[in-house]
Symmetry: C2
Subunit: 120 residues, 2 copies
């Protein structure tokens, strides 16, 4: 189920590179990569899991409420990270030519099913 | 000049709480807070400066290119962070009722002048 969800997010987003479902402990559960691309989604997930952990801690310290989403824009990529449960998050990586709004929406849309499956 | 820029960003964004200009070393240069609000912008800036530093390092490790923008959405706030120079960034904090797209745009618009003034 996880793989299909990730594939749906990637296929429905223009210029998406890949998507990953991952634990905040850096352990990847599932990933889907656009076959056109050789980006190492697992490595990316591990690196960003630390970042998201840090952001969660910061939000907690500042009593900013629970983390929902983080977007990172570099001159090469968009990375959109969606908090799912206390232990898991999903991330989508797009080329800069990709559609950021579409990516956010697709990730959000699939996040409900992913969350349910993780908790269920 | 810095204060006016920050004030412009906050005044032109619906439900903005405040904006800050800050070094990646956590030292605040200038801030402007919506008078309706008592959020501690400096504390927020210090905490998020660590986060942004971490994200920059991650992007570097992954050769993801230079960091441009980070957005964080919690169930209470939006935080939009714009990279300015090797040493400085600007951040805008909005209520969740605020207009995220408008905030991103206002921050981007003022970032050119801020960057020039910082480098100049």
């Amino acid at each position: 189920m996880f793989k299909q969800s990730l594939e749906k997010i990637v296929s429905n987003t223009a210029d998406a590179i890949g998507a990953i479902l991952m634990g905040y402990d850096g352990i990847g559960i599932e990933s889907f990569r656009n076959p056109d691309n050789d980006t190492d989604m697992t490595l990316m997930g591990i690196e960003y899991s630390n970042t998201v952990k840090e952001i969660r801690n910061t939000a907690e310290i500042l009593q900013n409420g629970e983390l929902e989403e983080v977007s990172i824009k570099t001159d090469r990529y968009y990375v959109i990270i969606r908090h799912l449960t206390a232990e898991y998050f999903a991330a989508l990586v797009l080329k800069r030519s990709g559609n950021f709004g579409q990516g956010r929406y697709q990730l959000l849309k699939e996040s409900y099913g992913l969350r349910e499956a993780l908790l269920g």
